[in-house]
Each structure stands twice: as C-alpha cells, then as structure tokens.
C-alpha cells in the first residue's frame, strides 16, 4: 500500500519510518507551501480552522504522488479536530479521489479501537513489524526533537547568522535516511555536537516560551517560522509542546489510566475549571509554570477561530497580570501578513529587553537600542 500522512512540523520523519517498517510505501507530501494552502482553501469550508485546510492540501498533493491510504489523527472533546477526518473524507470523495483513511484517535483508556484501526496496517508484515517500526519511529521522533531543542538553544547564540538553520536541515535529512537504531543514535549524537559547536557560549539571551494550539506551534509554515524568527531576534525559545512528551502522556500513560491531566487542572485553579478542548488548558497551565520559572515572556499562538485557544486567550491576560509576565497572543490564518507578524515579534522582544534591563537596575541610563 502507498500510505501517506498530513504534515505537522517534522513528525513525518518518524511516521515515514513506521510506514516503511510495516512493509508499505510511505508517500510524504511535499512540505506545506503556498500551493498546499491554495489547494486546501479552495476545497475546504471557508470558516474551518487552518490546520484542516492544510491537511486537505497535503492529501491532494500526496494523492497526486500515488497515495492510496491516508493515516489521519482523530480527536475527542470540544475541538473541531474530531470532525476533521469524516469531513475530509467527504471532500475527497466529492473530488472523486479514491483513497482510504485510517483514523487514529486517542485511546482514552481503551486501546482496542486504536489497535483495530492499526491492524489494517500490520496486515502485511504482522504485529512484530509494527513493534519494530514503533521502536524506530520513537527513536527518530526523540532524535528530531532533541535536534530541534539544540537548535533553539544555539540560534540566539550562533556565531554566524543562519548557520543553525542550515545545519538542522542537514541533520534532519541525515536522520531521515538512517535506517537502523544504531544509525539513528549516531546521526543524532554527531549532529547535536555539530549544532552545539555553532554557539557562542558567553551570551545570555532572553527566553520566550511558546504555548498554543499544537499544529500551529509545530508547523513552521503556519506559524511563519516563529521559532526561527525569534531565534534570529536573539531569543532562546522554549517550546512546550513536544510530541515525545505527548505520546508518553496521552498514548501510554493515559491508556493505562496513569495520566489524566489533573496536574494541569490544578495549576489553572482560579482561571479555568477543567478541560476546554485541544490544548487550551495546557496553554494556561504552562504559562503559569513559565511564570514560576526563569522565562521572560510567553507567546501564545493559535489559528483563527480555534475554540479551545480562544478560551485560553481570554484567560491569559489575567495570568499575565497576576504573575507580571508579558504574554502576547498571535492569531494566524491564510490571511496573516508577514510584516505585521514580524512587527509584533520585534516589539514584544523590545518590551522584554527593556523590562529585563529595568530589573537589572539600569533605570537611570534608559536606552532603547
């Protein structure tokens, strides 16, 4: 079978390996581009949130490359992601595309449904190949995120502008071709060392935490390379959504009833009364955690009309005030202009710099540059 998945940041590297190990042909759509978005907006309902539009674009581009089966994530709860798969199937059908869709939903304490969906994938090489595939995919996922983490740390400290970006790109390509577990580890270690070697060590940059809707946080095409932009403005980025972490908590621990997010609910006491869908609760909880840590500011990013994050957005100003932590919400969709986005980031970084300098008692010689 020729199997494809929609893009979400660098997740495709892990999924590609999994599909391959299970004896199928992975068809990875071209990276999200203007063409993807154009296709997606053309065939999606106008008012749906941005991720779905890009998914549709990815699917159509993958089908063009010969994909027969789509693996799609599902969801439950008040976020529209739960409706994505059926609506997307209807759209593809209407367009006369004969593709199948395998929908993977968070198990919510019951693994049976998930396994029955997956069984269509391991029909070919058996359950063993699935276990092995998962192992490789898991290692690749961890490696990707460790590389990204290193890049976040080095970017504001890089000796020559742009080097980290190039090295990361190269590292991810190498990782993509690494087939065995030991290759993955080797590539990871080598490349992390390469990236770290690009850093100037005696710089103490500002730190900005990023919270928000998972797809927007992870997909650089949607967030206009937010992490890279901040890095280039001399800011160390602390991302809070890591897939490694997500998979651990929501797939493993949750299915064993060991994780239910109660720690987050507790954290947001006084602001929210529980789960609001998507990552809304996380956004608020993590912002509070940032306030207790050594973080200078928080950027909250969400797609236009994202319901869970709108709830978070309306609560965050209170968190910001109570903890004296600057928080800026950025809303993105297909109409987002790059200039305005950059202006907001620059102004926010200026604000944080001034605030930090004020803290370190330079109040007398006020300088803005």
């Amino acid at each position: 079978m020729k199997v494809t998945v929609p893009h979400m940041g660098n997740l495709y590297i892990a999924i590609e390996a999994l599909i391959y190990e299970m004896g199928h042909d992975p068809i990875i759509p071209p990276p999200c581009s203007k063409k993807t978005l154009d296709l997606g907006t053309k065939y999606s309902p106008e008012s749906v949130c941005l991720p779905m539009k890009l998914n549709i674009g990815n699917f159509l581009e993958a089908v063009e490359l010969g994909a027969e089966v789509i693996i799609m994530a599902g969801g439950n709860g008040p976020c529209r992601l739960g409706y994505y798969a059926p609506v997307q199937m209807a759209i593809l059908e209407e367009l006369g595309q004969s593709v199948e869709m395998i929908v993977l939903e968070p198990p919510k304490g019951n693994l049976r449904h998930l396994i029955s969906q997956l069984s269509r994938l391991f029909a070919k090489k058996g359950f063993r190949s699935f276990i092995k595939g998962c192992q490789i995919a898991w290692e690749k996922l961890k490696a990707v995120e460790e590389l990204e983490r290193a890049a976040f740390w080095v970017r504001p400290r890089e000796k020559r502008k742009g080097e980290v970006g190039r090295q990361l790109h190269l590292a991810l390509n190498n990782l993509r071709t690494a087939a065995l577990l030991k290759d993955i580890k080797r590539v990871k270690n080598e490349q992390i060392a390469e990236i770290l070697s690009l850093a100037e060590l005696n710089i103490e940059p500002l730190k900005i935490g990023i919270v928000g809707e998972i797809y927007t946080v992870l997909e650089p095409f949607v967030n206009l390379k937010l992490e890279e932009r901040l890095g280039n403005l001399g800011v160390e980025v602390e991302r809070t959504i890591w897939l490694e972490d997500w998979v651990k908590k929501h797939l493993f621990l949750a299915s064993l009833n060991l994780y239910n997010g109660s720690d987050l609910v507790k954290k947001t006491e006084g602001y929210l009364r529980g789960f609001v869908g998507g990552h809304g609760l996380e956004s608020v909880a993590v912002t509070i955690m940032f306030a207790e840590k050594n973080i200078d500011g928080v950027i909250h990013i969400l797609p236009f009309t994202c319901m869970p994050e709108i709830v978070a957005q309306s609560v965050l100003p209170n968190v910001s005030r109570d903890y004296d932590l600057p928080v800026m919400s950025l809303v993105v969709d297909e109409h987002t202009g790059e200039a305005g986005f950059q202006t907001r980031l620059e102004a926010f970084v200026d604000l944080l710099e001034r605030k930090q300098r004020e803290k370190t008692n330079e109040k007398k010689s006020v300088s803005w540059c």
Binding site: G162, E346, A347, D350, E358, S367, W368, C369
Partner: protein, 322 residues
C-alpha cells in the same frame, strides 16, 4: 554652515514622514508626505525637500514603519525599529509620564501601555483594518469633503447618529442608510468617529488598563472629533502632542542618536541617493511550490537589498544594525 541633525524616517502605508532633530532632541524640520504606493520615490523626494530647506550634516539615521526594511537598506540606516517601539519612545519624549498611547495610522491602529517609561503591553488591530485612517480617507472622498475638514465639520454636530462600526463595509452601508434618511452630514461624521472609537476600544484596546495621561497620536489624531470621541468614551482627558503626525519618525531619530552615540559613527548613505537611479525588480522563484515573490533593489546597478523568499536563499539586507 551645515547644521548637525539626526534623521528619522517613518515609511507607512499612507504617509511617509521625515524628521530632522537637533542634538538637543528638538525637531528642526518635519515633513508629512503621502506614500502613494511608491516608497522609494517618496524617500528620494523627501530627502530632496529637506536639502531645499537647509544644509545638514546627518549624524545618524533611523527608520521605522512598514517600509522600514526598504528605507533602511536605501539610507543605510543606523537603526531599523518597529513602529511600536518608535512610537513609545516619541510619546515618552513628548509626555514623559505617559501611561497610555492611542495610535491610529493609515492601515493599522495600536494601543501601547507604558508604566515608568517602559512598554508594559501593546496590541495592534488584528484581522480587520476597520477604524483606521484609510477608511476615514475613503469616506471623506465619498462625501466629497477634505479629510482635513472632517473633524471640524463633525464637531458642529449636535446629535451624533449611531453607526455600526464593527466592519467598514457595514459601517459604510449604515452611513449611506442614515444619509438617505436625511441625517445631516455633521451628525453622520460625528457618529462615524464615535463608531470608530467604539470599535477601537472593543477590539484593539480590549482588556487593557487605560490610565492617564493618555496620548493620542498618528495621522488620525489630526481629526479633532476623534479626540473628543475618545475623551467621551474614556472619560479621561486625552492629549494630542505637537508632532502627533510624525511621532514614529521622531521616536526613531531619538533611537538613531542613542545608537550612534554608542557605536560612534553613522552609516548614512548620504543625500546623493536623491538623484541615483534606484530600481526594483520582482520575479517569482520557481524552485519550490511556494513561488515566493523576490524583490531586488539596486542603487545605480549595484544590488543593495533582496528579500521575499521564505527559505532565505535570496535574502540580502544591506549591512546595518537592526
């Protein structure tokens, strides 16, 4: 004798403003020009007008506004700053204890909250340009009045009519509806000002703590009726600084002075560029499906800047401090 000045340039969507500031941070000359979609031309024209006004030794250059990258490359500016920071600096300069800045420009509007001369929070209009200068411009043109007279006429209103201000399209149809009912022009204009203020406070200033002193600046602050509408809605006195229309340029010239004091010498390209042939070339890159539009800017055949690519492979921005 040449007078020593710092040059601040704010290249906005609607207007391009120039400020020459002396070493005591006082404005010597200012220009408010219409950008008319041709930022390069207007920058050259502005410089030319400035040279007609006197002889200057430029000690430093700062640029801001949505065209700041372009202006920065062209002038080889010492500082390229975003509008928020530039406007805050200028507001602090004019009203040192300012706590709230309301700024309405051509295409965007912002609110800046300052505490102890430090920006504590800010917001810009997000998805909609309703309630910005361009809309007032359009409506003035439609009603065949000079934009300069807008405020004056609106202030003669005795009973401002209520206009739906959520969206410019609806605002316009509502205005036409009121006009066809026979409502007088001043009442419609005053109503429009109130609607814009309402829209601004609900969208841009939503949830912000507006404390006095409040400074109202940007091109729209020329409209006296807007100031009155703000004061009524906020219940606070609002001041419009002397140089309300060139605050961005003023702010960035102050920043240029600070920057040059720190680094010693300006990188300003000089007034010669007035007569240089600045050319821009645009092409669509077909190396990937993004089809980015790449802009190349040359000054007398030599490439001074290039941008527009998502991947960054064409990016060349003149060597300047940002």
């Amino acid at each position: 004798m040449k007078r020593k000045v710092y040059l601040g340039v704010d290249v906005g969507s609607v207007s391009t403003n120039f400020v020459l500031m002396n070493e005591a941070d006082e404005i010597v000359e200012k220009l408010y020009l219409r950008t008319l979609g041709q930022p390069i031309k207007v920058i050259q024209e502005g410089l030319k007008l400035l040279t007609n006004l006197g002889e200057w030794e430029v000690l430093g250059v700062g640029v801001t506004g949505s065209g700041r990258q372009l202006a920065g490359s062209l002038l080889r500016a010492d500082v390229i700053k975003n509008e928020i920071t530039a406007h805050s600096v200028a507001a602090c300069h004019e009203v040192p204890d300012v706590q709230t800045v309301l700024e309405i420009g051509g295409q965007d509007s912002k609110i800046i909250i300052l505490r102890n001369q430090v920006v504590a929070d800010f917001a810009m209009n997000t998805v909609c340009a309703a309630g910005t200068g361009s809309f007032l411009d359009q409506q003035a043109a439609r009603l065949n009045i000079n934009i300069e007279d807008f405020g004056k006429i609106a202030l003669t209103s005795t009973n401002p009519v209520r206009i739906a201000g959520r969206c410019t399209v609806f605002a316009e149809s509502d205005m036409i509806h009121k006009q066809q009912l026979g409502v007088s022009l001043p009442d419609i204009l005053a109503g429009l000002c109130e609607a814009m203020v309402r829209n601004y406070l609900n969208n841009v200033a939503k949830g912000k703590e507006i404390l006095p002193p409040v400074v109202f600046q940007g091109g729209v602050a020329a409209n006296k009726a807007m100031k009155v509408a703000f004061e009524q809605a906020l219940g606070l006195e609002t001041s419009v600084p002397r140089h309300f229309d060139v605050m961005g340029a003023l702010g960035v010239s102050i920043l240029a002075r600070e920057q040059v004091t720190k680094k010693g010498k300006t990188t300003f390209s000089g007034f010669e560029i007035i007569d240089n042939k600045i050319t821009t070339q645009t092409f669509e890159c077909h190396d990937c499906p993004n089809h980015c539009e790449i802009v190349r800017i040359s000054d007398q055949e030599s490439l001074i800047a290039c941008w527009g690519s998502r991947c960054g492979k064409f990016e060349k921005v003149a060597n300047i401090a940002i």
